[in-house]
Amino acid sequence: MAESDAAPTISKKCGPYISSITSHGINLVIRGLVLFFIGVFLALVLNLLQIQRNVTLFPPDVITSIFSSAWWVPPCCGTASAVIGLLYPCMDRHLGEPHKFKREWSSVMRCVAVFVGINHASAKVDFANNIQLSLTLAALSIGLWWTFDRSRSGFGLGIGIAFLATLVSQLLVYNGVYQYTSPDFLYVRSWLPCIFFAGGITVGNIGRQLAMYECKVIAEKSHQD
């Protein structure tokens, strides 16, 4: 078919099932949108998690507290998650080693749950000191990768994402664009990379699953044809 040269990597993975380049593009857009909304949603929810405990009972601005942080944070998270989620399957294809480990929605859900749990722990559990917090979170993140990913590429990409994201957020803070509510600067810095790493792994997992779904749909379609 005509699109085989345009999308060689896809056809390598999905076989001769791609019917047209447009459907692939549309699928890409749909996947990006889904990932974007997942990212926005997770950002909002996890931001809520980070809100300090002992808020007053039914504070009047509880609804607005969902959007208490700067308005551009959730869209940024959404965009980042879309990029990461598309990057992971793309990288898999480029490396030529499709991710086969636990490719099921139930596993993805488990991964998301563990990610939320890591956030929960970082927000709610009282740690003795920051070293402990960092170590625990790092162990948890590595455990997340080992349980749900186990691919070297995923690990590398996760590390890269964590590094980049931490750098960007620190730059933002230095320049005063954004500031943490928590005064403990070290505290924030210690948990950020772990969260970013776990988030990268999670979103990559979702993205891979979505990409697989696309392949399956295309395969079915071609079968029907």
């Binding site: 809520l48 002992n54 808020v55 009972l57 009047p60 609804i63 969902i66 749950a113 929960h120 625990t136």
Partner: protein, 1231 residues
């Protein structure tokens, strides 16, 4: 390596044994597991119910001092002390409970007088409290020093700014409604409105401003127009920062001195500390809900993978139960060993489930269902278990390792989580091994049973006989195997088009899932939940109090339910007049002033136990919401509530009159026709209260009427909707099929089960043969080799009747009944003589009858065969016609004739000719002796005209005269049993057990008329109807043999459109090319063309079609073959979809267990018989159109035979009855 291998081997063996054990004793093991779960969950009973209800702890007020903040040195019994009782409370709450009444009560007082003057005294009281100061040696202490100083209200509470105190003592009283300004109060024209102006209009929230300021629940305050007790109670609530016992004692004694309550028996012994748990705000709720949604998605995606089991839902439920109960067990075990959960259970629960996971369960299921199906259930379970044993153990070890690592983080919360997770993992493993495996084995067994039931009619009854012939056949098979020119492949049924429109599908979907009902139910439950939850003094508070009462922390003397205070009789004059010495004077003055002769009703304020802790009746949110207004949270903190100070106020009528607002008098004037001062209208004001009551009742009635009207409207609307959607009167004649489970219903691939029909099948109970079978009516044309193993005994007989009904165009039926013989063990035992007298009978056309006028032959039914035989014996002389064979059987003719005579008396039809002709014994059934046939049984039967062809198990083909019961000819050339027979004009085609086809030709050696016999409407013409004369010599010759038409026994044989169709147990269906000697135009043309062998040789030729077919071809219905033939003939028709679709739908019918028998009604309608029902299918699309249930009870009876009549009615046998089903009109429309 070897160690690992050894370990692996051992684990696998252990799992294998365990699987065997579980599958062998499922019920005891499930019971054992249930007991284990219950035992492990037992410690959970000691834990308090989860929830946000406050916890109480009370200490004696005597020498109370705030607890120290360090847990080390605490006074009192440490075992009773809750762990939250540390440090000073957020605040001490001192309530001054005021009960006030106007006494004596004048009958001309207004309803507002009940509370206006009592409320007016609150200002004075508040002033007294505010100005109270304790002077002692250490100086002067005022309230300002001890009270809780509050700052700003929250910014969002601007509108309450005037009502709640700011920047000062937190002192609440009803006077806050008027900014503690008496003048405002006095000038307030409408107190009720002022009080209620901040009440929420819609949903009642837990703590309203009125409750906050009054300090008592709204209904206890008595501030309303319908207060019959005329006692108003409210509190002045004081929040104290520090506990100063001397100050409080002085305040108490001063207030008591000022406003004594003589009959007050309130106990003032305990300080109650109320600890509030964490409140879940929306900010915390959203992440929680998110985690739960993720959890449910995880469970959904996991359990969706369960496949290939009998009940997916059941197994999914079992999996979830496994995980949940393992969590409960873990919490229970941890509690048992002294670890109390401190984490928020609701928060960590999803994570625990995710950590434990459903993976093992799924792996187990997958492994078990992937074992070979033909193994025994036990072995399957055991094998599946042992296959996965290694990975299960490995996973578990890994998870335990990870959790152990988590345990060494030394963070208490994570450690606790890990502890729970470890115990949960172990108990989950235990439950998987015992509970889930057993459930799985039960499920697999059920599935196996279901499979068996499905296969039962076809293969399960196949006797394992004839191995020799089979092997012979196999040898010849390659040579004879025809080259198949075309293979009809069955398309997967999911690609079939759907016949029903989408709209109907959606509606059926709604109906099937009962979506609307469930939504309404869920809505109702939620609504009730909201009601209960928001009820300030409702179930929740009650429950909370109960819980605290149960727990050792609670106070012992808590009254469980509020007791309504009694109203003292009016005549009780035990007034505390000494309190206000001047009042009697005033009272009398008042009376004299108004010239009222009789004294008013005197009231007394009573104090009871219910007043002791009036704050208990407040919402449990009362204090948290009060403090939250000042941005003080009570979550995880406690407040101490000091015993209330009782204050009793008696107000004299003059006071009440003084504070009355002029507008009030005017407003309520309408209720009181008598003016204020007019004392002559004494009686009238007394009616005021009932009138008000009546007013309220009217409102009630209005509401009720409105509700009723809207209800009726709703019902009407629904009825209209129902009429729109279901214009027909469905279900009017509906049988009750409530016992049928959904799973039993035949349904198509989509789980769609069409509505059970309204058609009531007509049951032909009156037929002669009906009752005389112990077993259901079987049919003689059924291929006999398998269904009746007892056939081979040949020692007994059971009359099996083949009943055919054909309906003429004139609407007149004729009957062709033939009796087959079949063993009846019971009869055989009873009457050995009868064994040699099998009955064979043909009832020639009787008096033509309309169907409804059919004589009732039920009286002839006699199951007692021995008596029957005796009854027959005196009558052999009557059977003159049948005398050719002396040792005859039984003649039904006479009996039938008798019945007909009886019936004709009442029947308008003319039976005159009957007695005359019956002497000729035309209708008399011949009785045949099947000499020498005891060792073989009849396997197949066909009949044409007056000839009956019977195929026997020993391969003999016999031609009988149906009327006279004589054996006309016999052919014993074949050795293999004849499983199917078909008359093909002058030929007989016999299918044999060894898969061969034999063609016989029938020749007569005299003038031969039509063998075709048609019933004639007039009885008198019957003797002249063309018959094969008994004088003719009939020859039956084997003309041709197709040696290996099939590799397995042929079970079905039909002829139509000049073709033969055979179905066999070798899963093939073969259609022959048009047989050349069958002329499509004329009937049988003598013996001509018999010699032409071309027809037979062409059988394996290119015209033969072979198709991979379903299970085993059991039944072929003639029109189906016609259809098939027609379709196959249309080879040039480009639409090749048609034949395959046909086959796919047949496949569908067979597959779903509906296809014990089938018939084709029209080109696209197929009817199949199932268990107690017949189903109509659309051939072209394979859709199930309708199911008609034949009876209520005999569900197990399959409809084995189906005969399609010409006018789209079908006859099927059902148990011992025949049912006539008219094809539903819906189907007619589809045509």
């Amino acid at each position: 390596m070897t160690l690992t291998e050894k370990l692996r081997e051992k684990i696998s063996r252990a799992f294998y044994n365990h699987g065997l054990l579980c599958a062998s004793y499922p019920i005891p093991i499930i019971l054992f597991t249930g007991l284990c779960i219950l035992a492990c969950c037992y410690p959970l009973l000691k834990l308090p119910l989860p929830g946000t209800g406050p916890v109480e702890y009370s200490t004696p007020v005597k020498d109370y001092s705030p607890p120290s903040s360090e847990p080390g040195h605490q006074q009192g019994d440490p075992s009773e002390r809750p762990d939250w009782y540390l440090g000073p409370p957020v605040a001490y709450i001192q309530q001054i409970l005021v009960k006030a009444t106007v006494s004596p009560w004048h009958k001309n007082f207004l309803a507002v007088d009940v509370f206006r003057s009592p409320l007016s005294r609150v200002f004075q009281l508040v002033e007294e409290i505010r100005n109270h100061a304790l002077r002692d040696s250490s100086g002067i202490r005022s309230l300002e020093e001890v009270c809780l100083q509050v700052t700003d209200l929250l910014p969002s509470l601007k509108k309450l700014r005037d009502l709640l105190p700011e920047h000062g003592c937190l002192l609440l009283s009803p006077g806050n409604f008027w900014q503690n300004d008496r003048e405002r109060f006095n000038s307030d024209p409408d107190i009720i409105k002022t009080i209620h102006q901040h009440e929420p209009k819609t949903l009642q929230t837990s703590a309203t401003l009125k409750d906050l300021l009054f300090g008592v629940p709204g209904k206890y305050s008595g501030v309303n127009l319908y207060n019959r007790k005329r006692v108003v109670s409210y509190t002045v609530t004081l929040a104290l920062q520090r506990y100063d016992s001397r100050f409080l004692t002085s305040l108490r004694s001063r207030l008591k001195l000022l406003h004594p309550s003589p009959n007050c028996t309130l106990r003032e012994e305990h300080v109650v500390h109320v600890h509030f748990k964490e409140e879940i705000g929306i900010a915390e709720l959203i992440p929680l809900v998110t985690t739960y949604i993720i959890l449910f998605a995880y469970i959904y995606f996991s359990t969706r993978k369960i496949d290939m089991v009998k009940s997916k839902w059941g197994l999914a439920l079992a999996a979830v139960v496994t995980v949940l109960s393992s969590l409960l067990m873990s919490v229970g075990l941890c509690t048992l060993f002294g670890l109390t959960p401190t984490l928020n259970g609701g928060e960590i629960f999803p994570y625990l489930v995710v950590v434990i996971g459903l993976e093992n369960v799924l792996v187990l299921t997958k492994s078990v269902v992937s074992t070979p199906v033909d193994l025994e259930v036990k072995l399957r379970i055991a094998q599946g278990l042992s296959n996965e044993s290694w990975s299960i153990m490995k996973n578990m070890a890994t998870e335990l390792g990870i959790i152990l690592i988590g345990y060494f983080t030394l963070v208490p919360a994570i450690q606790e989580f890990c502890l729970f997770a470890v115990v949960g993992l172990v108990s989950d493993f235990f439950l998987q091994m015992f509970f889930f495996t057993t459930v799985l084995s039960i499920d697999i067994r059920r599935m196996e049973l279901a499979d068996l039931n499905k296969r039962l009619p076809s293969e399960a009854c196949m006797p394992p006989a004839k191995p020799v012939s089979r092997s012979q056949r196999y040898e010849r098979q390659p040579a004879m195997r025809p080259a198949t020119p075309h293979t009809i492949t069955l398309q997967p049924s999911s690609f079939r088009n759907l016949r029903l429109p989408k709209r109907l599908r959606v509606i059926y979907f709604f109906a099937r899932t009962r979506l609307a009902q469930r939504l309404i139910m869920a809505g109702t439950v939620i609504w009730i939940g909201i009601l209960v939850y928001t009820d300030p003094a409702g179930l929740r508070t009650y429950l909370t109090s109960q819980v605290t009462e149960q727990s050792p922390l609670g106070e012992a003397g808590l009254p469980p339910m509020p007791v309504p205070g009694g109203v003292l009789p009016a005549g009780d004059v035990k007034l505390a007049l000494s309190v206000f010495p001047s009042e009697p004077v005033q009272l009398s003055e008042n009376q004299t002033q108004h010239g009222q002769p009789e004294p008013g009703t005197k009231a007394e304020v009573t104090w009871g136990v219910e007043d002791e802790e009036i704050w208990r009746k407040l919402s449990f949110r009362h204090w948290p919401s009060l403090f939250s207004y000042y941005n003080i949270t009570l979550a995880k903190r406690y407040i101490s509530i000091l015993p209330a100070i009782p204050v009793t106020l008696y107000l004299n009528p003059r006071e009440a009159l003084e504070v009355r607002h002029p507008q009030e008098a005017n407003r309520y004037h309408s209720f009181f026709p008598s003016s204020l001062g007019k004392l002559e209208a004494v009686d009238r004001p007394g009616e005021a209260l009932p009138k008000l009551q009546g007013h309220r009742d009217v409102t009630l009635y209005k509401v009720a009427a409105l509700g009723l009207a809207s209800g009726i409207l709703l019902v009407l609307l629904l009825f209209c909707l129902y009429r729109v959607f279901c214009p027909k009167n469905y279900g009017q004649n509906g049988l009750s099929h409530s016992r049928r489970k959904r799973g039993d219903l035949p349904c198509d691939d989509y789980g769609y089960s069409p509505p059970e029909t309204e058609i009531t099948p007509l049951v032909l109970r009156g037929h002669l043969m009906v009752g005389c079978h112990n077993s259901p009516v079987a049919c003689c044309s059924q291929p006999v080799p398998h269904p009746l193993p007892a056939c081979t005994e040949g020692s007994a007989n059971l009359q099996l009747l083949h009943f055919r009904l054909r309906r003429d165009s004139s609407g007149i039926f004729d009957y062709q009944e033939s009796w087959d013989q079949s063993p009846d063990p019971k009869n055989g035992l009873e009457d050995p003589f009868d064994n040699s007298h099998p009955l064979k009978r043909m009832l020639s056309p009787l008096q033509p009858l309309l169907f409804c006028d059919q004589p009732d032959l039920t009286s002839l039914i006699d199951t007692n065969f021995s008596e029957q035989a005796k009854a027959v014996e005196p009558e052999p002389r009557h059977r003159a016609v049948c005398s050719r064979h002396k040792d005859t059987g039984y003649n039904f003719g006479r009996l039938v004739e008798k019945v007909y005579e009886e019936q004709s008396a009442s029947n308008c039809m003319n039976f005159a000719g009957f007695p005359a002709t019956h002497g000729q014994a035309v209708s008399c059934s011949p009785v045949a002796v099947w000499a020498g046939d005891l060792e073989s049984s009849v396997w197949s039967l066909d009949l044409r005209g007056n000839l009956i062809v019977a195929g026997r198990s020993n391969g003999k083909l016999e031609v009988w005269d149906a009327i006279e019961g004589t054996l006309r000819c016999c052919n014993e050339e074949g050795q293999s049993g004849i499983t199917a027979l078909v008359f093909l004009n002058n030929r007989i085609v016999a299918a044999r057990l060894n898969g061969s086809l034999d063609f016989f030709s029938l020749e007569t050696h005299s003038s031969y008329n039509h063998l075709q016999f048609r019933g004639t409407p007039s009885r008198s013409s019957i003797p002249s109807s063309p018959m094969c004369s008994s004088n003719d010599l009939i020859m039956c010759q084997l003309t041709h043999t197709v040696p290996c038409a099939h590799q397995k026994p042929i079970t079905a044989l039909k002829a139509a459109a000049g073709r033969l169709v055979t179905g066999s147990q070798d899963h093939t269906l073969k259609v022959s090319a048009p047989l050349p000697w069958v002329s499509p135009v004329g009937p049988w043309a003598g013996g001509a063309g018999v010699g032409g062998d071309s027809g037979m040789t062409s059988l394996p030729g290119p015209g033969l079609w072979s198709a991979l077919c379903w299970g085993s071809v059991q039944h072929l219905s003639l029109p189906a073959v016609t259809l098939l033939g027609a379709i196959l003939q249309g080879r040039e028709v480009p639409d090749w979809q048609a034949p395959s679709l046909t086959l796919s739908s047949l496949f569908l019918a067979q597959d779903l267990g509906c296809g014990a028998s089938l018939g084709v009604i029209s080109d696209n309608l197929l009817v199949t018989g199932g268990q107690g029902c017949v189903s109509f299918w659309d051939i072209g699309y394979g859709d199930l159109l309708q199911t008609v249930y034949l009876g209520k009870s005999n569900e197990s009876q399959p409809a084995r035979q189906i005969l399609v009549l010409e006018n789209a009615a079908i006859v099927c046998n059902f148990g011992s009855e025949l049912s006539l089903v008219y094809v539903p009109s819906v189907l007619e429309k589809l045509d």
